[in-house]
Amino acid sequence: MAKLDQGPPNYKEMLPPIIKENYGKWKYHEIPRSGVLKHVSESGAALYSVRVGTPRLVSIDFIRDVCELADKHTDGFLRWTTRNNIEFLVSEEAKVQPLIDELDAKGYAVGGTGAAISNIIHTQGWVHCHTPATDASGVVKAVMDDLYEYFNSMKLPAKLKMGLACCLNMCGSTHCSDIGIVGVHRTPPRIDHEKIRKGTEIPSLVASCPTGAIRPDPKNKSVIVNNDKCMYCGNCYTMSPAMEIYDAKNDGIAILIGGKVSNARSAPSFSRMVIPFLPNNAPRWPETTEAIRKIIELWIANAQKGERIGEWVERIGWEKFFTMAELPFSDMLIDDYIFSRETFRTSAAFKY
């Protein structure tokens, strides 16, 4: 019989001795090189963490490979980060270089520290979800391949965090990332009346629509969608399998920028849409990788030291950003949802 409610394994049993001894007594840290953190405790003990990128979607073979490396170099201790990188926890400086040499030789991606692009927090996409408007793993691979030089170096003005969500549910961190990549639909759902009659709870379906575009159709024991009110969020499909919304020709990607969660300097902020649509050009999504690279290069060339993308754009002004980025500005980028008014410019101060 399975034990119920036993909870997660106890983390204490998996901490390396150096962490147990210096728990809560860390004094400072340094980043001696890209991909390596050095944490020094009050006792003088030093812990080295060697950070390695992962595709997040991994086989058990990958995990076993990583275990072999950890047994050989770190007495079997390692952890994952909140951005799905792996950190090998090395307790002696002499063991750092041999580990890195082996990682390099085997083609692992060492990096992701400091003023770098770290791993992209992402979702299921076509691999496992039923509501996606784009793939997750493929887009992430394409973008990270293109920007790899910023993963294994620390030459950016500040940290750059990216998130990808394959639909407007926006699982993960897209809404609060320096660069957010979001799968978007552009056509209304197609109603399967037969399926609705067979088992959709109509009041819940009607209530799921943020814009009130769905109303009951009692005569048909189904619903009607007012296409003029639908902005294709797909929440109705989440509620009912009768509201299929994927559309191979018209689904794609929107780009948002400027979000952050840390409180350093400025308050946490949402990312804002700057490109409403790019096509799903699998397997490499060239329009998406190119658009992102362009924005990042503009930021590198123009930001002050230490300025996150959002802080840079807020300083120069969004109107200036659009000019500099040579991005078309359309009404699609002007908010018309619930909290829109606060995004309008209620001031006569702006740049031409």
Partner: protein, 402 residues
């Protein structure tokens, strides 16, 4: 296993970033499910659409969540994916592992599933990706024997998550790892048996750098902070200055409250303690010279969520400072959570996150009914409109006669 071509996906084995396609191919050597996953995905790349049907309800005895049902839309073509469910396993605090534990995870998954995983899901869980319905209970039984439990799914407390905290960070203002472990265990029932209007997430960050993104990704964001003045080591400040580090430009000038002063003559850094908003910037820049204060705890913020339905919300301050004490078993926090969940359970509509409920009903009513005293720290600025609700029973009705 039949060799089938995947020309589009093969493209994604090139390049320097580790390839998920290579990972699926490795699993495909072992299992038909992974081999067919590759085929379906190739087809999705050609057709630019997903091939998964709407989720179904599957699970284990005794729990109402933890497993996400998934079915391919053409089961005749892809029989090994006819059922391809995900199992969420509750991860250890801070994602700390030893290889023995990881190998156990792999061995059990090799026995029952597709061999594919996500390390980790966005909420924190270990994701076991793809198994048949009949295997779900045996999988749970085996993992349970090995000391694992399921994570959350549905309208429940979801799996909690934490930053690395005191395990390896000098900035941590409370024991995030222990808080996450202890508090998760306290609310096992709420996690495993969905009983609320909608999902509810807690994330623990040791300081306002917020490495779990709690403010944007959790209904309850527990963000470490301190109440007294930050501590400055002047000798270490001088070392930074001697190395040519631009203390004035990169630290003082960027302090949001301009409460830091660097005296270039004496090479000393001073702070007006009561003006500091504990944003972490100066500590991040000069970790050897500046430390948090000594009186530590956490700020509790409520309401964070993603877009659906009312727009994305960031959590906002409800309790400016709370002790997070392992000694008393985090009693104050647990009591606080019970109170606000109980209120939400009473007032929340179906599929309404707690932030949306508070927004709809009003902060005033929420605070009165949960007996939380309003303080200015809860708002960026007070309201601009005069449309204030007064409790009519509180008015001095005697004035009517004057």
């Amino acid at each position: 296993m039949t060799e089938k071509k995947t020309p589009l996906l093969d493209e994604l084995e090139k390049g320097k970033w580790p390839s998920f396609v290579s990972e699926i191919k490795r699993a495909a050597v072992r299992t038909e499910a992974a081999a067919e996953l590759l085929q379906v995905l190739e087809r999705s790349y050609v057709e630019r659409r997903g091939h998964w049907k709407h989720g179904g309800i599957v699970g284990v005895r005794g729990y109402g969540g933890g497993v996400i049902g998934r079915y391919v839309d053409e089961p005749q073509t892809y029989p090994a994916l006819a059922e391809f469910h995900t199992i969420r396993i509750n991860q250890p605090s801070g994602f700390f592992y030893n290889t023995k534990t990881l190998r156990t995870i792999c061995d059990l998954w090799e026995k029952h599933g597709s061999g594919m995983t996500n390390m980790h899901g966005s909420t924190g869980d270990i994701i076991l990706l793809g198994c048949k319905t009949e295997h779900i209970q045996p999988i749970f039984d085996d993992y349970s024997d090995a000391g694992f439990d399921l994570g959350g799914s549905g309208s429940c407390l979801r799996t909690t998550n934490t930053c690395v905290g005191p395990g390896r960070c000098e900035f941590a203002c409370y024991d995030t790892l222990e808080a996450c472990y202890n508090i998760t265990n306290e609310f096992m029932d709420e996690l495993h048996r969905p009983m609320w209007p909608y999902k509810s997430k807690i994330k623990f960050s040791g300081c306002s750098n917020d490495c779990t993104g709690s403010i944007a990704r959790a209904d309850c964001s527990v963000i470490g902070t301190w109440r007294d003045t930050l501590r400055i080591d002047q000798a270490a400040v001088k070392e930074y200055a001697a190395e040519g580090f631009d203390i004035q430009g990169l630290v003082c000038a960027k302090c949001p409250t301009k409460c830091l002063t660097f005296d270039s003559a004496t090479q000393e850094l001073s702070v007006v303690g009561e003006d500091c908003t504990r944003c972490m910037h100066c500590i991040n820049k000069m970790p050897k010279a500046i430390q948090a204060g000594k009186e530590k705890g956490a700020t509790i913020l409520i309401g964070g969520k993603s877009t659906i339905v009312q727009s994305a919300f960031m959590s906002w301050v409800i309790v400016p400072f709370m002790k997070m004490d392992p000694e008393d078993d985090f009693a104050e926090f647990k009591d606080f959570m019970r109170r606000i969940w109980e209120w939400w359970d009473e007032n929340g509509k179906t599929r309404e996150r707690i932030g949306e409920t508070i927004y709809r009903v009003g902060m005033g009513k929420f605070l009165r009914e949960t007996e939380i005293a309003p303080v200015p720290q809860m708002v960026f600025r007070p309201r601009a409109n005069p449309y204030v609700f007064w409790n009519q029973d509180d008015l001095d009705t005697s004035s009517v006669e004057l």
